[in-house]
Amino acid sequence: MTEASSAATVASATQPQLVIDNVFKQFGEGPGAVIAVDNVSFDVKPGEFVSVIGPSGCGKSTLFNIIGGLLDEYSGNVMIERERIAGPHKAVGMVFQEESTFPWRSVMDNVAFPLELQGVAKSERLDRAAHFIDLVGLKGFEKRMPFELSGGMRQRVSIARTLVSGPQILLMDEPFAALDEQTRLLLGDKITQIQQELHQTTLLITHNLTEAVQLSDRIVVMTYRPGKVKRVVNIDLPRPRTSDVVSSDAFGHYVAEIWADLREEASRGMQDSENMQRGRARRG
């Protein structure tokens, strides 16, 4: 490596890779309008694992869609490499909360999908897809169809499909929401391992506290409606981590600390939805 390029690497290592700058999004107009995301700002450095946590209805998924470039009308800036994004950015790979494998494609063809779009030659496509199928622990299932797999396996197919496109920033929206706790912990291990192997910059949107503390370097805690940044917590747990970390004292401290913030927000959210139910019952 030449001196100039190593200097550039050092510079880019300290520069944030993804900047969320005063992002604001409102749905609807007038008195019925809902502010989903209210002047949210934070950044993610290269190789860092950041989680955004907040109760349901704090605008997390809206933020996910904005950063992914799927939602264009917002104010503020989402910057990648110091440029405001316009539409889905090639540096960002998204993993969705919903079941998102293509039911008509085998595991192999699902994972190779982004390479197919890029026009990569077939043999190389299959090689690269096979590598990531192995990485998420699905070797031997290449020819299976999604309906033959469990929910956790399908979600791993989605993750492999996104990783194969070589994103600089991995953006995930509650990828384990539909899974049971055990599968969630084990998949978390898989994610940690992948993150360590690839030094993958990752932004995880979640409402699961243990998941966030288990995986993250930093956690952005959001408030319930309107969604603002309440606090940013650095997680100084040793790496490499495994799911064993959940039984450590330090882990417990972090969970308790963030829960204190989160509880207030979550109970406001609950109150709100109960009031809405009551209103509906009265009207009905």
């Binding site: 470039g69 799927l70 998204m94 779009l117 169809m145 309906f147």
Partner: protein
């Protein structure tokens, strides 16, 4: 999830059924056919009904044998098959086109879909006089009517299929920055495959019914025309024989279409 469930039933179909159950079903099927055949024959020989109305199975069998040697039968079969094929090709293409418009465009669907729904169940045969005036008494008027009848079926199922596409799959395509062409070929089309192909199969049924019906009304060739000719001679064994042949031919057509489209009945 709904989409994966549909694909599952379509790809697994009957293969998933255990063997013993398939055998049982076959036994019941054969038994029912045998019971009907024996009762028919008994009724025919009992003398309770007019002999010409319920002819013996043997005379029907002989009539089928004779029909299958007639060059005129094959000429008529060819005409009808051609009519159905063209009806299906024209009606389905238009149906898929209109279905995609209705399914993808909220305004179009709001403005026009009611009409498609209201017109879909009307008996198409009432348009036959109009078609005769426009296209003459030859095969063109039957093709037009057949195409009209299968158009509605295909258009409605395509529009429904378009709307039922799992939205997250579209977001996946966009997040990977698929071009509009890639979105169409690699996401919309495969995601809509099952409802569209089912629509075409149902369209085949309605096109067959309509073409044959039109042929019995006013024509100079085709299986429907042949049925009416035999009827006017009051040749009951041949009439029943031809009906059985038509059933079998339509069944085979449906089976082939099912195999080609990969949707099992």
């Amino acid at each position: 999830m709904a989409a994966s469930g549909e694909i599952r039933t379509a790809t697994m179909g009957f293969r998933a059924k255990p063997n013993s159950m398939a055998r049982q079903t076959n036994i019941i099927r054969i038994a029912i056919v045998l019971i009907i055949a024996v009762s028919w024959e008994a009724l025919s020989r009992s003398g309770l009904v007019f002999k010409d109305v319920v002819p013996s199975l043997f005379s029907i069998g002989a009539a089928i044998g004779k029909l299958l040697t007639l060059p005129a039968f094959y000429a008529n079969l060819q005409v009808t098959a051609w009519e159905i094929f063209l009806s299906l090709a024209i009606g389905s293409s238009l149906g898929i086109f209109v279905g995609i418009l209705l399914g993808s465009n909220r305004f179009m669907s709001f403005a026009y879909e009611h009409y498609v729904y209201y017109l879909a169940p009307t008996p198409r045969i009432i348009f036959f006089p109009v078609m005769i005036m426009w296209f003459g008494v030859g095969i063109a008027s039957k093709i037009a009517l057949g195409a009209l009848s299968c158009f509605f079926t295909v258009a409605l199922s395509t529009a429904g299929g378009m709307r039922e596409i799992d939205k997250v799959l579209i977001r996946v395509g966009k997040s990977f920055r698929a071009t509009p062409m890639q979105m169409g070929l690699k996401i919309y089309l495969p995601a809509m495959r099952v409802p569209v192909l089912n629509g075409i199969r149902l369209g085949f049924g309605t096109a067959t019914v309509t073409c044959l019906l039109a042929e019995t009304k006013l024509s100079n060739q085709g299986l429907g025309y042949m049925i009416m000719q035999i009827y006017s001679r009051f040749d009951m064994p041949s009439l029943y024989g031809l009906l059985i042949i038509v059933f079998v031919v339509a069944g085979i057509g449906n089976l082939i279409l099912g195999k080609v489209t990969g949707t099992s009945a």
